[in-house]
């Protein structure tokens, strides 16, 4: 902040100090102004010097590409001749790329698909993580440390490799699961049009449930012992404690985990892309990200790909906005 405004901002900063985070640090206001000029400019320059390396890389690998993509999303190519051999021009195309992205049913369907996926998979995963965390933290669990480590293991396996692994367990002929099901008279097809989405959901759940469980465990561990004591004095059993003490206290974490998972779902890419080679049911536009990738690298429609990416980003913004609204309301109540 420049000097004149800095002086003004000192007051609110001071007021906020009582709440903790706000006014700490060399806030460049009153504190530093009283000292020599050189010092002051050093302090003023310091944050920029500190941020510079990050900002350079950030601008290069985030901001520029994004601006570029936004520009591309408004660009159309016009060709003359059978292959554009008589001239190719590109220029401002208005919303044509967006119209093309939204007109084709495939992209809109893919959004619907991941939303459905998110609602079911995220719910199941968070529920599983919560139940596991509560069980592990209950006195009834044997060897909680060993189980916890075990559940957490898949998180260290990259999604792509987890998908390769599970794909072998889905493919008839190779998969012992299909064999076992067949032996008891069940004809399962993990890769069919109605099942493959849930086969993907299984991979994602397998990979990330343990991680979410660990977060919840961490939250549970930070609930002060007195609260449990008080509850027990009131005669509450384990189920009651879970429902009326533990769950409310870990709720914010659950909400956060849920929303981040839903946003992650919008970006589903590697799992369906890898499974494509074993399932006839996964199209090139199965998820929004896959559709954008397909537009760019298979169809060479860079403008449409950019428009699709912008739409995915907007959806993510809307979702996170919803999340913030939700948590804010919660904070106020």
């Amino acid at each position: 902040m420049s000097a004149p405004t800095a002086a003004r901002s000192a007051a609110p900063a001071g007021r906020r100090a009582g709440r903790g985070a706000g006014a700490r640090g060399p806030d460049g206001a009153g504190t530093t102004r009283s000292r020599g000029r050189g010092r002051s400019s050093g302090v003023r320059r310091a944050p920029w010097v500190l941020m510079a390396p990050f900002l350079v890389v950030f601008v290069l690998s985030f901001v520029l590409p994004i601006l570029y993509a936004v520009g591309q999303s408004f660009t159309r190519v016009q060709r003359s001749g059978l292959f554009g051999e008589e001239g190719t021009t590109s220029g401002f195309g208005g919303l044509a790329n967006y119209r093309q992205a939204l007109e084709g049913t495939a992209f809109v369907e893919s959004v619907g698909r991941v939303v459905l996926f998110g609602l079911v998979q995220v719910t199941v995963m968070i529920a599983l993580a919560t139940v596991l965390a509560l069980l592990l933290e209950s006195a009834s669990a044997r060897w909680p440390g060993a189980f916890r480590t075990l559940y957490f293991l898949p998180y260290g396996i990259p999604g792509v490799i987890a998908t390769i692994l599970w794909s072998f367990l889905y493919v008839p002929g190779l998969s012992p699961l299909v064999d076992v099901a067949g032996a008891v008279g069940l004809d399962v097809d993990f890769l069919g049009p109605s099942t493959v989405l849930w086969s993907i959901a299984n991979i994602v759940t397998w990979a990330y449930a343990g991680y979410n469980m660990l977060i919840i465990v961490a939250q549970l561990k930070s609930i002060p012992g007195e609260l449990y004591e008080a509850a027990r004095v009131d005669g509450a059993g384990p189920v009651r404690i879970a429902r009326s003490l533990q769950l409310p206290l870990i709720r914010p974490a659950l909400l956060l985990a849920t929303v981040f998972s839903i946003i992650g779902t919008l970006q589903l890419f590697a799992e369906p892309q890898v499974l494509q080679s074993v399932s006839t049911a996964i199209s090139n536009e199965y998820t929004p990200n896959l559709a954008a990738y397909n537009s760019a690298f298979n169809n060479n429609d860079y403008g449409v790909a950019a428009a699709q990416s912008v739409l995915i980003a907007l959806a993510a913004f809307v979702l996170s906005g919803l999340f913030l609204a939700l948590t804010n309301r919660k904070d106020r109540s």
């Binding site: 902040m1 405004t5 800095a6 903790g20 640090g25 060399p26 460049g28 010092r39 050093g42 302090v43 944050p47 500190l50 941020m51 390396p53 900002l55 890389v57 950030f58 690998s61 985030f62 590409p65 599983l128 069980l135 933290e137 209950s138 009834s140 044997r142 060897w143 075990l150 957490f152 260290g156 990259p158 490799i161 390769i164 692994l165 002929g173 012992p176 699961l177 990330y208 660990l214 977060i215 919840i216 465990v217 961490a218 561990k221 930070s222 609930i223 012992g225 027990r232 914010p252 974490a253 929303v259 998972s261 970006q267 954008a292 760019a296 790909a305 990416s309 995915i312 993510a316 996170s320």
Partner: protein, 311 residues
């Protein structure tokens, strides 16, 4: 982008709960342990454990088989002629040890990328958290917005951009974007506000210490727990990265192990011997990670709890 932090996995919990920080030995219902409940609970835990272990067990079994046995013998049990060593030797020697090179690349990308990313995030987060200056709010907002942008949106333009300066299809093309951890900046900002004592900073300043020196000597140390968390997350994020190398790299000698294994996986339809390579490769790449996860579990939980407590 790869580096966009945990997409599927949520950011380490830091909202709400557990502000008290008194990590009590908290197990409720300590009063009595009812054997029947114990058996029931443990049984449930065992069933779930089987679910988490089955794929890993399967790959362990499958890695000992020949391609023929893979299709003709029971998938959950070993064949009569186990050949684990033969398979593993094939994995590490195929195409002049390409697989080992992929592993080394993954370690390079994840190791170097995560360390540098953590340092950059620490500096930027500290700057945003400890200094008040014009534009800080805007920068924070833009950085956080970066988290939500889908990887495909940046990967293609980034590729075109890198191509023009001759960086595409080099180590740099994967490393440079991996240096960005918007989430790390966010966490470091919060953490520096909570953990770097203002009075000490002021005292150092009076002693004539420069701002950069204060950051390097005082702040980095105070922020250590947050840095460990950022480092772990970024390591995993880069290690898991798939789309960025997929777009950027044409030369298989630069591949990380994720991309390399999908390449092998893609060849099984035509060349069945690639089943052995892929399965063996999966086993080899999973084992060190699993070991690492177990060893580092303490840090994970530490990081998560810190995140929750200090935020």
């Amino acid at each position: 982008m790869s580096v966009a932090p945990p997409t599927r996995r949520p950011a380490p919990a830091r909202e709400g709960a557990g502000r008290t920080g008194s990590v009590a030995s908290s197990a409720p219902g300590r009063t009595q342990r009812r054997p029947r409940t114990t058996i029931l609970v443990t049984a449930i835990l065992v069933v779930v454990a089987v679910y988490f272990l089955v794929p890993v067990y399967w790959v362990l079994v499958a890695a000992t088989k020949s391609t023929d046995d893979l299709f003709t013998t029971n998938g959950f049990w070993f064949s009569d002629s186990p050949q684990l060593l033969t398979n593993l030797r094939l994995v590490v020697s195929y195409d002049g040890g390409l697989f080992l090179r992929w592993l080394a690349n993954s370690f390079l990308y994840a190791g170097v990328g995560a360390v540098l990313a953590t340092y950059l995030a620490a500096a930027a987060g500290y700057a945003l958290g400890m200094y008040r200056f014009r534009g800080s709010g805007l920068i924070l907002g833009v950085v956080l917005g970066g988290v939500l942008v889908p990887a495909t949106a940046t990967a293609l333009p980034l590729f075109l951009l890198f191509s023009q300066v001759g960086v595409a299809n080099t180590y740099w093309s994967v490393l440079i974007p991996s240096l960005v951890s918007p989430f790390g900046v966010f966490l470091c900002r919060i953490y520096s506000q909570a953990a770097v004592p203002v009075s000490v900073v002021e005292a150092a300043r009076i002693d004539g210490a420069g701002e950069l020196r204060i950051f390097h000597v005082l702040a980095l140390r105070a922020m250590a727990p947050a840095l460990v968390t950022v480092l772990l997350f970024q390591t995993i994020a880069i290690w898991n990265n798939y789309l960025l190398p997929l777009v950027m790299l044409a030369d298989s000698r630069l591949y990380p192990v994720t991309l390399g294994l999908t390449t092998w996986r893609g060849q099984v339809d035509r060349l069945p011997e690639f089943y052995q390579l892929t399965i063996g490769g999966v086993l080899v790449s999973v084992v060190p990670l699993v070991v690492l996860m177990v060893l580092l579990q303490r840090f994970w939980r530490g990081g998560l709890t810190e995140g929750a407590v200090k935020a």
